[in-house]
């Protein structure tokens, strides 16, 4: 069992290569698929893959089980949309501002929930998510409430958007790989596995936990803000708890604490949910059932099943 292939860094490298291969395979898809409808579906599934990667950084790598990823996507989308709607800020400035804003909010939330664990953390992040949604949905003068806001788009071309999302996915993936291979990643894993132990070995737990929160929320904000310009409409529905549920199921099915898992899970869940919707709107029944089964019996997800050594 102690051979080099079992070392974390080797497993991570394999993981990263597979994830990169999946992304490269995705790059070839527009050669075969030209229908704007299916390209749109693929863009949304990459949006979910980004959210899943962001949430996985927090839950899978750092052990902080947040229930707010969809809320941060909503905040990112609204950040861009509101800057555009009220102050006519160009998207090139609006999107980075929104990402910085969500990163700051994530850092703040991380500071606030620093001492909370398990169910307490889940409940606090859940309240944060719901409060954000209720406030945005009810501030009619400022956000137009449930009607949503129209956003300018970056470009008209579906293929262009597809490659933009894919490029962002690859960039986030590479960034995460670099982080996970380095000091930060090892510290996060240490915090996940044993927070007290990590602190006793001199790891600055506060700093690395809040860093994970800020980064994870920034990824979600980035995904949300791009998605807003893609769909050209942002509404509080982006932040529904159901969306968070989808993100969690994607990561659990794909494999928590891996890089490939969230991406494959997101693609698998979202694409087949399109198919199941045509079969008869049973996608959520099927996926929630699969999630329960995976959580109960195959904790490591598809990635764990695929890499299990006999």
């Amino acid at each position: 069992m102690n051979d080099a292939r079992n070392l974390w860094s080797h497993r991570l490298r394999t993981d990263f290569r597979v994830a990169l291969a999946v992304a490269l395979a995705l790059a070839a898809v527009p050669l075969f698929v030209s229908s704007p409808y299916w390209l749109g579906i693929l863009v949304v599934s990459i949006y979910f893959a980004l959210l899943a990667l962001g949430w996985n950084l927090l839950a899978g790598f750092t052990g902080q089980f947040s229930l707010a990823p969809a809320a941060f996507a909503m905040l990112g989308a609204y950040g861009t949309a509101l800057l555009d709607y009220h102050w006519k800020v160009p998207l090139a400035i609006g999107i980075p501002t929104a990402i910085a804003g969500t990163a700051f909010l994530g850092w703040l939330l991380g500071r606030i929930v620093l001492r909370l664990k398990g169910p307490y953390l889940a409940l606090t992040t859940l309240s944060f998510a719901e409060i954000a949604r209720v406030v945005i949905g009810n501030s009619h003068e400022f956000t137009r409430g449930d009607q949503g806001l129209n956003v300018r788009t970056l470009m008209q071309s579906r293929v262009g958007y597809y490659y933009l999302f894919l490029a962002v996915l690859v960039a986030v993936l590479c960034g995460l790989y670099v982080l996970m291979r380095g000091r930060a990643g090892r510290f996060w894993l240490a915090i996940r596995d044993d927070e007290t132990g990590a602190a006793s070995r001199g790891i600055d737990v506060v700093r690395y936990k809040t860093l994970a929160f800020a980064l994870s929320c920034a990824i979600c904000g980035l995904a949300g803000s791009l998605y807003g310009t893609f769909s050209q409409l942002v509404s509080p529905e982006l932040g529904l708890l159901l969306q968070t549920g989808l993100v969690i199921s994607m990561v659990v099915i794909g494999g928590m604490g891996t890089l490939t898992g969230p991406i494959v899970g997101a693609l698998l869940v979202y694409l087949s949910s399109e198919w199941l919707r045509e079969v008869g709107n049973v996608q959520l029944i099927v996926f929630s059932f699969i999630v329960i089964v995976f959580a109960r019996f195959f904790r490591t997800g598809l990635w764990g099943l695929a890499t299990r050594r006999r």
Partner: protein
């Protein structure tokens, strides 16, 4: 007179909240996990009541116990199939049991909502009231008849539960397991069966809350989400896991919410409870009334 009206109505809603929250608190007390599918126990109760009464023509007074039975059966099934890894000590989730519980109950909640949505349909149903008289005068306050009856039943249930926990053998076993699972097992208490019992009770109470409110709220598949969120607030406010804390906090939340909705903001009444939840968790994790070591 408005203030009195608000007070009485808030108190009544507090009673319904208490029915929900007490079960959640008991589950937390024994397993130290939050059941994110608790709202769906409520939903299943409401639907059982409405469908039995409307489709099968069962009289409302018989549909009510049927809803309770459905809730208890659901609670038992959930415990048997999904909660065992939390304490049986097998499987690799044992080091991440909080996460397991969140994922599995969250998934269950999605599953039940969408199953009902698919099988029964997404439209709201209106249940038949338990009593025909629509308005009662309670002193100077006018009340809806169904609300009054439901409140009376809730009081009876809560008092019954309190006596059951305090006095009966099973109730004492529940207290023992909540205090110390291992110790209780060593003393010969079947901790597994007790946990089963707790899930049945909590499913039963939540389902009854749903059934009692069904004529007032017109249940739709996602009807459980708000009562569930209220019960999280209450359980946190009352000190996680404390039954008496939950009862008190439920009344407190019911009353303060009904005042908040009228005097401050109706739109933000749901955010108000959640804000309380966050503040309590951050500044006073043991709850407003809870002490560090507490029973059940």
């Amino acid at each position: 007179m408005l203030a009195l009206d608000l007070f009485v109505n808030g108190l009544i809603f507090g009673l319904f909240y208490a029915l929900m929250a007490v079960g959640l608190a008991m589950i937390f007390g024994v397993l130290k996990v939050v059941n994110f599918a608790h709202g769906e126990f409520y939903m299943v109760g409401a639907y059982t009541y409405v469908l039995c009464a409307m489709k099968l023509g069962v009289p409302p007074w018989i549909a009510l116990p049927m809803a309770a039975a459905a809730g208890a059966a659901l609670g038992w099934t959930v415990e048997r199939l999904l909660m065992r890894p939390l304490y049986a000590g097998y499987g690799s989730w044992s080091i991440m049991k909080d996460e397991y519980a969140v994922v599995v109950t969250f998934g269950l909640s999605l599953l039940l909502v969408n199953l009902v949505d698919k099988i029964v349909g997404p439209y709201p149903y209106r249940g038949p009231p338990l009593i025909e008289t629509s308005r009662f005068a309670l002193g100077p306050v006018m009340l809806n008849g169904q609300k009054l009856i439901a409140a009376a039943i809730s009081i009876a249930l809560l008092v019954g539960l309190a006596l059951f926990i305090k006095r009966s053998l099973w109730g004492r076993q529940i207290q023992a397991v909540a205090q110390n699972r291992l110790g209780a097992s060593l003393a010969g208490i079947d901790a597994t069966r007790t946990t089963s019992l707790i899930f049945m009770i909590s499913g039963l109470l939540a389902a009854l809350a749903g059934a009692l409110l069904a004529p007032l709220i017109n249940p739709s598949p996602d009807v459980g989400s708000f009562p569930a969120i209220k019960s999280y607030v209450i359980v946190v406010l009352g000190g996680m896991g404390s039954i008496w804390g939950a009862m008190l906090a439920a009344l407190l939340l019911g009353v303060s919410e009904s005042f908040f909705a009228v005097y401050v903001s109706y739109d933000y009444r749901d955010a108000f409870g959640l804000l309380i939840l966050m503040l309590v968790l951050i500044f006073r994790p043991q709850g407003l009334i809870g002490e560090k070591g507490r029973d059940v």
